[in-house]
């Protein structure tokens, strides 16, 4: 794919729930995000045709811009015409659809197969079978295993450059025999990324039996691992698979580069930002079916895709992965394993729905925090090698963290989204937090190969929402005692001093595009990324400068009553709204735990209405009884830190959200 310069660009991402479109165009010589639209993905019931959603989302852009983008028979007009109809480039990404069932064939589990697993972690696959020299099975058993696993892809690797060829060939011949036996139209694609000397032999073996992709050796020697070439070929395999699927077949023909996997966009963007800033960067997207985490650490980017981590289609598998106890750890009320399971199962049935009740939103966010936490844990080993994390259980400092996915970006408050992100990742040190409110990362990834200039310019034009900069202390701070000493000097010379207490968050609302010199020192026994004092120029945003005095690891209370005192307070401190009051009967075992979703009774709703909602909504009237119940629990709020006295946090982008 060669680099090219074009004008208008239509980028569409087909998610499992939402289809999002962005129109990017040259404005005064620079690429800018001009319009956006989103609608439900229509690849499933009842239309079973992704093109219907494409047409709807493009019509939204037409309605906003007045530009006709579709022909009468539903095709994207390319190139752009003199009357401004159409676009020069149409690109698509997708995370929807079936993951590729993949058989990994290699020599040694800890070497070539381990590298293959890491290469595959960058795309939508499910590893259904692994064949190695050490698996102890006969050729007959291996052939049956391949056929029985009904693969979409067979990934053969193994053999170092200049190393022995026969072991790789022996494995390849077993695969060849299996392919000969697979009848009908179900022949899997084959990717070879082993000893490059054998590439011509692989062509001879598989040329007539399967669609063959060849990539550079992912393990040229014991010390080196080169995944990029194989990952690029995997993107092509993914595109090839999508092309075979009904409506996506037509889309692959319509778009410039076919349909690329959305996850690769996160990899590319993390890599770009990491390289350009020379800092550690983490991007995380938790969608309905898939969780993606890309991290740029010490000049190297890695991506993990987990099809068992999602808030909609994958909610139940997320629960299986993390366990009910991990979800419960984030709930400020008493519940049962069965109730948590019911929530997950019902969410899988209506994956695009949103919680309407207070308990529902806490459950949703418990899943979100636990899901991101699991992604971080799964990814840590790949960073560990570079950061020597073995001795440190805390998350390393990421200079920039970007959160994506409706669960994070459509909370109604940038502060709340930021809190969810830093809680789940347990960010340490000094971190700039951004939210991909408009879903630009997916779109930009699809342009990275052909139009990197557009990627750079759109990224630099505030298309990502900057929430602000977070300063987090590590260690266990003393509750309600000053633990972070802050001195902020704004660009207009104003100096603000503040002492943040242990167990609390304090926000200074430094606006979008503004910077300030921040001098922070941590209390005794505490640190900010290993340092006692940090002085930096920090960027504000829709939330501002966030000083997190809660400590790392985050000292969440072990019981619901303790968490009921913590979590609503933290939400209130970062959003600037009154804390939600947790009713007494939510903290006892008196709730009939066998009643499943009946826990969210009309009584609960009535009470929540009296409270005026999670963020108050400006009409909070707490009943006297509820006030009393709060007093009975540990009160973390400082006497001199009433939220009303804090400067209001204005979320400028809120009005732009639909």
């Amino acid at each position: 794919m060669s680099e090219e310069h074009s004008g208008s660009i239509l980028a569409v991402d087909f998610g499992n729930v939402q289809t999002r479109a962005l129109l990017i165009d040259l404005v005064d010589g620079f690429y800018r995000l001009v319009a956006r639209g989103d609608t439900r993905t229509t690849a499933g019931f009842p239309a079973n045709d992704a093109r219907l959603g494409l047409n709807r989302v493009v019509e939204q852009i037409t309605a906003v811009t007045g530009r006709k983008l579709l022909t009468n028979d539903g095709k994207i007009i390319t190139p752009e015409q003199n009357d401004r109809s159409g676009v020069d480039t149409f690109v698509t990404t997708a995370s929807t659809g079936r993951t590729m069932r993949t058989v990994v064939v290699g020599l040694v589990p800890d070497v070539s197969i381990a590298s293959a697993r890491r290469a595959l972690a960058g795309t939508y696959v499910e590893i259904v079978e692994v064949l190695s020299l050490e698996d102890g099975r006969s050729v007959e058993q291996q052939i049956n295993a391949i056929i029985g696993s009904r693969p979409d892809l067979i990934f053969i690797t193994g053999g170092m450059e200049g190393g022995a060829e026969e072991p790789v060939l022996r494995q390849a011949r077993a695969v060849q025999q299996a392919l000969r036996l697979i009848k009908g139209g179900r022949k899997p694609a084959l990717l070879y990324a082993g000893n490059s000397v054998l590439a011509p032999t692989m062509r001879d073996l598989f040329g007539t039996l399967a669609t063959l992709f060849i990539a550079p050796n992912i393990r040229p020697n014991l010390e080196e691992e080169e995944l990029e070439g194989a990952q690029a070929q995997l993107a092509l395999v993914y595109n090839d698979q999508q092309a075979k699927r009904g409506s996506f077949g037509a889309l692959t023909r319509m778009s410039r580069n076919g349909v690329l996997p959305t996850a690769q966009s996160y990899n590319l963007i993390a890599d770009y930002i990491g390289q350009s800033t020379e800092q550690n960067v983490l991007t995380v997207d938790i969608g309905s079916a898939v969780g993606i985490l890309s991290a740029y650490v010490e000049d190297h980017v890695t991506t993990s895709i987990r099809t068992d981590i999602g808030l909609g289609h994958s909610a139940d598998s997320l629960l299986s992965t993390v366990g009910a106890a991990t979800i419960n750890r984030w709930l400020p009320f008493v519940t049962s394993t069965n109730q948590i399971r019911h929530y997950a199962l019902n969410k899988t049935l209506v994956p695009g729905s949103v919680p309407e009740t207070i308990k529902g939103i806490f459950l949703e966010h418990a899943f979100l925090r636990a899901g991101i936490g699991a992604l971080v844990e799964a990814s840590r080993p790949t960073w560990g090698k570079r950061l020597n994390l073995a001795q440190n259980t805390l998350t390393p400092q990421f200079d920039t963290i970007i959160g994506a996915g409706a669960g994070l970006t459509e909370t109604g408050s940038s502060g709340f989204g930021t809190l969810l992100l830093i809680d789940a990742i347990q960010a340490t040190g000094v971190t700039r937090v951004q939210l991909d409110t408009y879903g630009v990362i997916a779109a930009l990834g699809s342009l990275a190969y052909t139009n990197p200039e557009a990627v750079v310019q759109v990224l630099e034009s505030s298309s990502l929402e900057t929430a602000g900069t977070v300063f987090s202390i590590s260690g266990i701070p003393a509750l309600n005692r000053p633990v972070l000493h802050v001195r902020i000097k704004t660009s207009d010379g104003q100096v603000i001093k503040h002492h943040v207490s242990g167990g609390h968050i304090w926000v200074y609302p430094l606006g979008i595009g503004k910077t300030a010199t921040v001098d922070v020192s941590a209390g005794r026994g505490l640190s900010i990324n290993g340092k006692g004092r940090v002085k930096v120029t920090a960027e504000g945003g829709t939330v501002g400068l966030i000083f997190d005095g809660r400590g790392r690891p985050l000292p969440l209370a072990n019981d619901a009553a303790g968490r009921a005192a913590q979590i609503p307070l933290w939400i209130a401190e970062i959003t600037g709204n009154p804390p939600i009051l947790i009713a007494d009967d939510w903290l006892t075992d008196a709730v009939d735990e066998g009643m499943g979703l009946d826990m969210e009774t009309e009584e609960t709703i009535r009470k929540s209405k009296q409270r005026g909602g999670l963020f108050g909504g400006g009409r909070r009237k707490a009943p006297a009884k509820a006030e009393k119940s709060v007093e009975l629990r540990p009160d973390l709020r400082l006497k001199d830190e009433e939220p009303k006295e804090e400067l209001p946090v204005r979320n400028d982008l809120d009005d732009l959200r639909r």
Binding site: T39, R40, F45, P46, A47, R56, Q60, A63, G97, R98, V139, I143, N144, I147, G148, R150, Q177, R180, L181, K183, G184, G185, R186, N338, R341, L345, N346, T348, L349, V350, G352, S353, V354, P355, E356, T357, I358, G360, I361, E410, T411, G412, S413, I580, M595, G596, L597, T601, T604, I605, S608, K609, R611, G612, G613, L614, F615, G617, R657, R658
Partner: protein, 358 residues
Amino acid sequence: MPYYPDQRYALEMTTIQREQTLPEDAIGSVEVRQGASVNLRDIVARGILPSRYIMVDAAGQMRLKKSEDLGDILKVSVGDLVTAKEVLAEAPKGRRRVVAPVDGIVADINNGQIILQIEPETVELEAGLDGQVIRIQQGQGVVIETYGSVVQGAWGNSRRVIGTLKTEPNSGLESLYGEDLDIQFRGAIVITRRPLRQTGLDVMEDQNLGGIIAPSIEADLIDSVLAVKGAVMLTEGFGSLRMSGLVYNMLNNFNGRQATLEAVQPNRWQTRRPEVIINPSGRGQARAIRPNLNQTLTVGTNVRMTRIPHAGDIGTVVNLPKTPILLENGLKVLCAEVESVTGEKLTVPLANLEVFGR
């Protein structure tokens, strides 16, 4: 901007197109032609499910120097059915021979190896609907078009049954347990308004019910429901959820009618919904109206709410505010104002509304 809500059909007299396919791993053939009329029980496709392969090292057993030489002494060809001990290859004058270790099919002969596939299991695909074959999917199945009524549910146990719809006795489904076999329920698809419990599954077994349509089950009953022979469809989901009034009334109206219950288990890649299709009772096809794929949400649209606290409730859209609304739980999302059947005015996120198909 028009909003296109999710659809879950609850439609009387509509045109229904349904794909019927063999299991994904089956290798099969379609037995009907495009345009053919089919009945519920007609076989539309047959296939075989792949079974284990046995590799017979024929060249080795025959002590051949070159594997290519096997061709000269082979007694079978690819595709041949063989029985155990049948000769696969034999040297001139019968000095050496290779015999089949099992009954099976010669799947491949390659590199001196004869590969046998153990006799595979055959599968037959029923039409499941009275209708017309409008499309053939070569080797996989057919698309059948019919007309009738359809009520879709939320979850199923991956079973299909054709039977008579029967509303549960007034005393409830569970009252049938231990009763003398009641012939009217044998093979029937029983509709119960109450959440299904283990006793209900016991009744299913005890009374030989063909299927059950219930609003919900507790999560810990899932494995049991997946293990029963009959089809189970949940109309609402998991927990102690009640059946939507509209769904119950529709199903109740079809009491005694023959229906196909496709208890499809939803997953991320499943393009079908669990549903019950009631074939027409002789009334004209002309009355059937196709579902509207492009139905938008407008004032006056009838909707079903999908999330607690209103899950399963029915109402009518009375207002569509243009700006996002702050919910009680802090989310700020686009909503509709819905008047429920009880007259209550509710503010419900658009994402939590479903329409019925037209």
